[in-house]
């Protein structure tokens, strides 16, 4: 589903990824400085009410990035949930609540947040440099404290896994982000208007060096852009390109599926749609027996879309059930279904005759290896019953800042 190959950029083209990291960081640092975030007085103005730039820039950025990702997901160029799973950390309610309060306290004491302290340092501010040093000490000190069991227990308390606002509202992964995004945008624009009014009221008390920049024409231009993006995001959910009905699952050849199942079984989830009896007798290793009637119980539109879903029918499957189409991640259909699998993987291949090309020899070796690996196994144990709709996707470990 994800159009841009960020996985390969991180994995194989690591150096290129690091260069992109410097470029993106450059944009981040440049923008923060130009917004005035290299200056402590401008930042703390937020907490004394005379300059609400922190709030405006931060919510402006959140809404822009959110709507951008909503629109790209609506166009099928990205997958909101997949990106969110990858780039956002899991929710640990209590440490996040307490950590937020302490970070806010540290913010008003030091005058910077960790990111803006780097920018202040780069622009020559010695108080920024002191904050940078403090953050380093604080990070290491807390990491050391984690060896105390009580601290570690608190650090991992309130673990709710990957939890997103649309999960809380029980919305599916496809329509959820645009709906919540609209609500956030409306709220943010309402708050922006309120912030302008508040600044006008408090302006007389302001330090002239740290006066807020009024919204002006470019502000209205940004509001209009946000409104247009929000409407586009919502419209794309309703358009045919955005619905699952238009989704054409790709087919996977038995050879490729066999490679996946043997080499990287953690990357695929194979659902066998044949009736339970046939599936119970013989099935692809690691597959789940899910007759089409039971598909709805899997809650495929809610589960973590990280793995590729592969559907196996008796033969070809021209129109996959809509429950499967609701799955957020990659969806594949086994070409030729079970019959093709049986013919390919479970019957011994003909040894190539003399004069066979190297490619033919290679294929024979692979098939022979697969055949012995797949048939040499003990008879499969009785299939596990299909699991009922899981409440939430699997949890992942928490990361540091942005990891």
């Amino acid at each position: 589903m994800t159009f841009f190959p960020f996985e390969s950029l991180v994995g194989i083209q690591r150096e290129l990824g690091m260069v992109v990291g410097v470029l993106i960081g450059f944009g981040f640092g440049f923008t923060l400085e130009r917004a005035g975030f290299g200056r402590a007085q401008k930042l703390v103005g937020q907490f004394y009410g005379y300059d609400l730039t922190v709030f405006k820039v931060m919510f402006g950025a959140i809404v822009t990035a959110m709507l951008g990702l909503v629109v790209l997901s609506g166009l099928g160029l990205a997958d909101f949930r997949a990106v969110a799973e990858k780039a956002a950390s899991s929710t640990y309610l209590w440490p996040m609540l307490v950590g937020g309060l302490l970070l806010g306290a540290g913010f008003i004491i030091s005058g910077y947040c960790p990111g803006t302290s780097w920018v202040a340092t780069a622009s020559g501010k010695l108080d920024g440099l002191a904050t940078v040093a403090g953050v380093i000490v604080g990070q290491v000190a807390y990491a050391e404290l984690l060896s105390i069991p009580a601290v570690a227990r608190f650090h991992n308390s309130g673990d709710l896994g990957s939890l997103f606002l649309w999960d809380l509202l029980k919305l599916p992964n496809r329509a959820g982000p645009p709906i919540v995004a609209i609500a956030v945008t409306v709220m943010a624009v309402g708050c922006f208007i309120g912030a302008e009014k508040l600044e006008k009221v408090l302006a007389t008390r302001a330090d002239p060096a740290a006066r807020a920049t009024p919204a002006g024409r470019s502000g209205r231009f940004v509001f209009a852009g946000l409104a247009a993006s929000a409407l586009t995001g919502l419209a794309l959910v309703a358009l045919p390109t955005g619905t699952q009905a238009a989704r054409q699952p790709r087919t996977i050849a038995p050879l490729d599926l066999a490679r996946s199942v043997v080499d990287e079984p953690w990357k695929v989830r194979v659902l066998d749609l044949r009736d339970a009896k046939a599936c119970g007798e013989k099935r692809i290793p690691g597959s789940e027996c899910v007759p089409p009637a039971d598909l709805g119980k899997l809650g495929l539109s809610y589960v973590n879309p990280a793995r590729t879903l592969v559907l196996v029918a008796e033969g070809d499957l021209p129109a996959p059930p809509k429950e499967a189409l609701a799955y957020g991640g990659e969806l594949w259909v086994l070409q030729g279904g079970w019959q093709a699998w049986q013919a390919f993987a479970l019957e011994p291949p003909q040894p190539p005759g003399p004069g066979a090309t190297p490619a033919e020899l290679e294929l024979f070796r692979l098939r022979a290896g697969l055949q012995s690996a797949l048939t040499g196994m003990k008879a499969a144990p009785p299939p596990p019953p299909p699991t009922a709709a899981p409440a939430g996707p699997p949890r992942k470990g928490g990361g540091g800042c942005g990891s």
Binding site: E33, G60, M96, L97, A105, D127, G138, V140, V222
Partner: protein
């Protein structure tokens, strides 16, 4: 280019540009922005120079070495970019100057002490909250993570709660 140190970008325009930077990180890298994790990595590097065995014996520090050297990480390169971007922006706007920013009623050493203290508090808090204002509030907030929104409101809550008591540092 006009160099007026008191002239800043329109906040909404700056927000939109920052949002596009964040969006490009999402789309190209599948990552968000971050700042505080690099601090941990710098700290680990320093500790390794002083007490080599200590990092390996402490799991919470050793995990920064999962990819090899603690500084061999995307977020570290991103912060290098932040420093470069901040420097260029400060230079071109006339704000590049060695100085200490503070309110009129506080001495410079006291301001440094408060900056360090506040930084240390934020360092611990950012580890606890799985990210700081960049990595958690901004990135997670844009991705509609429930925990990030809790964190973000807490940050504003903590700041407002303490603002009155430290007003002497600023006003």
């Amino acid at each position: 280019m006009e160099r007026n140190p008191d002239k800043f970008w329109n906040p909404y325009l700056a927000g939109a540009v920052l949002g596009l930077v964040l969006l490009s990180a999402f789309v190209v890298m599948g990552k968000g922005l971050g700042a505080s994790n690099t601090s941990l990595r710098l700290g680990v590097t320093a500790i390794e120079a002083v007490a080599p065995g200590h990092v390996a014996a402490t799991p919470s520090l050793a995990r920064t070495r999962a990819e090899g050297h603690p500084l061999d990480n995307w977020l570290v390169f991103e912060v290098v970019g932040v420093l470069l971007g901040g420097f260029v922006a400060a230079y071109t706007s006339g704000r590049l100057k060695k100085e200490t920013l503070k309110g009129p009623r506080i001495s410079t050493p006291a301001r440094w002490g408060m900056a360090f203290l506040g930084g240390a508090l934020m360092g611990g808090a950012a580890y606890m909250g799985r990210g700081c204002t960049s990595g958690q509030a901004l990135t997670g907030g844009a991705l509609l993570s429930a925990g990030a929104w809790v964190f973000m409101f807490s940050v504003f809550g903590g700041g407002y709660a303490l603002a009155y008591f430290v007003r002497r540092a600023w006003r």
